[in-house]
């Protein structure tokens, strides 16, 4: 009989104290568990329109035999295309298996045990998770008026600070920094630390004073920009995102990356998605209309809500968010509970197609009147 491995000795202390992430079950399992025949997924800010038409066609035409061939290890063609679009060098880009992987690459590249990263307390949780599992302290600064607190973040900096993460627009509040604010922040950081601006929802923003972060990289070589194909471009299922930065910084990050982590189909889909301007337009129109509908419905219900930029709205409930989730699931509507984002009793709903939002509004009315 084999004995159990001596995990006490094998596992690093910082991993012992960490708790594993448990993703939700597949849709068919959830439908079975909650007894619903249809499920509207309004929990992950996915694009209800799916991938852009050009990306779909390219993926449909993908020769299956190519599945036996390794992908481009560094997403060469995609990087060249991004370089053309943004007027930068291909080596200033790096693709990852979703933006989550890019977060891990950056932390691995710049941080060691005893270092710290700085971000907000109520934002995308992966910065905090990855740093904690890497034995790196996550210093969390409370939001101010639902937005990142630049001064608060600067105050937390010390000699062991390596990376500052700004989610712009912020998930889940939708707040955002304009170019002046981002420049001021970068000026105060003074090039001494890496500043990551996560622009997962950038393509949903239609404000002229939203920062042109790619252009700012020229002036601020410590700036790293994250983008994803999971939100606007509807490719969440095949996992692809990228980061951009100065040649020197990206060269360091590249040393920590996992080669071949981005599959060929994802590279093909992303490459062609960038060509489809009409898709972006249609998605933005859907989100605008959806937000108008939700504003009206939520006002009728008298529920406070917060939304800025991005395809999501956060709603404060008079009951527990997790109870609302369970009740809404029995009605075939899946939302995101916000307690894990440190917004207890709030839910976040993806601004989706009209049928889904009507189902959401109806389920919410029933749940609150129950």
């Amino acid at each position: 009989m084999t004995t159990a491995p001596p995990l006490e000795k094998l596992v690093p202390e910082y991993v012992k104290s960490f708790e594993s992430y448990i993703p939700s079950k597949p849709d068919d399992e959830l439908k079975k568990i909650y007894g619903c025949s249809k499920l509207y997924r309004l929990n992950n800010n996915e694009n209800a329109l799916g991938p852009p038409e050009k990306a779909r066609r390219a993926m449909e035409a993908f020769p299956q035999v190519q599945a036996s061939v390794y992908p481009s290890g560094d997403a060469y063609q995609l990087r060249c295309k991004l370089a053309d679009i943004f007027g930068m060098h291909p080596d200033q880009f790096m693709a990852g298996n979703g933006a989550n992987e890019a977060i891990a690459f950056v932390i691995k590249a710049f941080c060691e045990q005893g270092d710290n990263i700085i971000t907000a307390d109520k934002t995308f949780a992966v910065y905090e998770w990855v740093s904690t599992t890497s034995g790196v302290e996550a210093r969390l600064v409370p939001l101010v008026d639902y937005g990142f607190d630049a001064a608060g973040m600067i105050e937390k900096i010390d000699e062991r600070t390596k990376v500052l993460f700004v989610c712009n627009p912020n998930n889940p509040t939708g707040s955002w920094w304009n170019e002046v604010k981002l420049r001021n922040f970068l000026d105060r950081v003074d090039g001494k630390h890496i500043v990551v601006v996560d622009e997962a929802y950038r393509e949903f923003v239609r404000h002229d004073d939203f920062p042109d972060s790619m252009a700012l990289i020229r002036e601020y070589p410590n700036l790293v920009v994250f983008r994803t194909f999971s939100k606007m471009y509807g490719l969440a299922g095949i996992r692809i995102g990228y980061l951009a930065g100065s040649m020197e910084v990206v060269d360091i990050v590249r040393r920590t990356c996992i080669v071949y982590s981005v599959n060929t189909l994802a590279q093909v889909g992303a490459f062609h998605a960038l060509d489809d301007k009409e898709h972006v337009q249609r998605t933005c129109e859907m989100v605008r209309a959806g937000k108008r509908f939700l504003e009206k419905e939520l006002n009728l219900l008298g529920l406070p809500f917060v939304h800025g930029e991005g395809n999501f709205v956060m709603v404060r409930l008079p009951i527990s968010d997790s109870l609302a989730y369970r009740k809404m699931m029995t009605r075939g509507v899946m939302v995101r509970t916000m307690t894990a984002f440190r917004f207890p009793n709030w839910i976040r709903v993806t601004v989706s197609g009209q049928d889904a939002l009507e189902a959401f509004a109806e389920a919410l009315r029933e749940v609150l009147s129950f």
Partner: protein, 430 residues
């Protein structure tokens, strides 16, 4: 320490446990009690369980407010009967003499735990806590209403002060046991077993506090929030609760319960699980509400349910919208160990006793009866039994519980391997 199960190694075993207990800060008397318990367990293992010898591991560890000695071995020949609080032994009976050592061991420590894992791995845990004094009588400095407070973990001296404040401003029956022993609470927080937040004014005044700790594998228990002489319109209680939820929200913990809520506890963001009858020595009875909320989306789980409990369980799951796969289970003639084991926790100050199954056995019904008689003789007014629906073997206790007058009162989601059911013995004052 790895050692052969042979009496010759007894001095080594006792020296190991005693030295460890001393190093970990247990007082002389407490260290000797743990040593005595370890000695008796080791001798029992050598003589009765492993007469042909065999490898044995003993692990001592420091829990700050307790020292733990764990015996790890492989066997399926271990009769646990002696670990029942109710067991009696006769000096005339040779079989009883075999169990005498275990009886002494179980009475010498504060807690014992038994786990029999797959592959015949037996884990027997003895826990001896340090002895702590109750707080000194006397009203502490009064706290005035605070215009503004911020949340932060309290310092050790502030934790003790919070205990004094809680005793001043709250009825003892409403207080959690942990607040009755300030030094122990400081150590439990130092050990990482409990966490806390205090609402602190600009000059360091304490306006309120909240505590929480892990209860089972997936659930935390929240204690409080306690608010000391503050404006009822202040947000202190809500802030404390939000701070607690924010702290546990990004952990693996699935849910949080509060089984002794204060009046300031914000019920609207929690769900009522049910109530227990809380009998006081003066004969009065007040309902004790249990509240909970999940922290994440509920992905569902299963529950092993005895048919006699099925109606209650299904009704509660439907009322609480808990997605559960109910698996009906009951003994079907399979061979059970002769003797079941129950653990018993007493809170004599508040007249509460809680039983939990440790081991199944053919005598489960009689064992429940013996324990109830003992608790009634010790004037326990509130007797509870907690059953884990994630452990199918515990279903064997259900008929005995119902027959003895226990009622299922509430379900604690995810508080054990799966959900726990809390039974209460119908009180004499009801």
């Amino acid at each position: 320490m790895s050692v052969e199960a042979h009496e010759a190694f007894l001095p080594l075993v006792t020296a190991f446990v005693e030295k460890a207990a001393n190093c970990f800060g247990l007082g002389t008397d407490d260290a000797l009690r743990l040593t005595l318990a370890s000695e008796e367990v080791f001798m029992h293992l050598c003589r009765v369980v492993m007469p042909s010898g065999g490898p044995l591991q003993i692990v001592c560890s420091n829990g700050v407010y307790y020292t733990k000695a764990v015996f790890l071995l492989q066997t399926d020949a271990f009769d646990m009967r002696a670990f029942n609080l109710t067991v009696t032994v006769s000096a005339e009976d040779e079989a009883d003499l075999d169990t005498m050592g275990l009886v002494i061991a179980s009475r010498s420590v504060d807690h014992f735990l038994l786990n029999h894992e797959q592959g015949r791995h037996l884990r027997l845990t003895l826990i001896k806590e340090k002895t702590y004094p109750m707080p000194v009588e006397g009203l502490p400095t009064a706290v005035g209403p605070l215009a503004k407070t911020t949340l932060r973990p309290p310092m050790p001296e502030e934790i003790k002060f919070i205990c004094q404040l809680a005793l001043s401003y709250y009825d003892t029956r409403m207080l959690s046991d942990i607040l009755l022993y300030p030094g122990k609470l400081v150590d439990m927080i130092k050990a990482g077993e409990y966490r806390s937040l205090a609402a602190v004014g600009s000059a360091g005044e304490i306006g309120g506090a909240i505590f929480w700790h892990r209860l089972g594998e997936n659930t935390d228990e929240c204690i409080g929030p306690y608010v000391f002489n503050q404006d009822p319109a202040s947000n202190i209680a809500e802030d404390l609760l939000d701070g607690c939820l924010g702290a546990v929200g990004r952990t693996r913990v699935v849910g949080i319960v509060n089984v002794r809520p204060t009046p300031e506890f914000s019920r609207r963001h929690f769900e009522l699980l049910g109530t227990l009858d809380d009998y006081a020595p003066d004969g009065s009875c007040a309902p004790a509400e249990a509240w909970f909320r999940l922290l994440h989306e509920d992905a569902g789980t299963f529950a092993w349910v005895h048919p006699d409990l099925e109606a209650f369980i299904r009704r509660e799951y439907a009322r609480l919208f808990l997605p559960r796969q109910v698996r009906i289970d009951q003994p079907s003639g399979e061979t059970l160990p002769r003797h079941s084991v129950l653990s018993a926790d007493f809170n004599r100050l508040q007249g509460r006793a809680t039983l939990r199954p440790m081991w199944p056995g053919a005598d489960s019904e009689e064992n429940i009866e013996r324990h109830v008689r003992l608790m009634e003789s010790e004037k326990m007014l509130n007797i509870h039994f907690i059953l884990d629906l994630g452990q199918a073997w515990q279903a064997v206790f259900v008929p005995g519980l119902l027959a003895r007058g226990f009622e299922p009162r509430l379900v604690l989601p995810y508080a054990g391997k799966a959900d726990l059911v809390v039974f209460q013995l119908r009180g004499k004052f009801s």
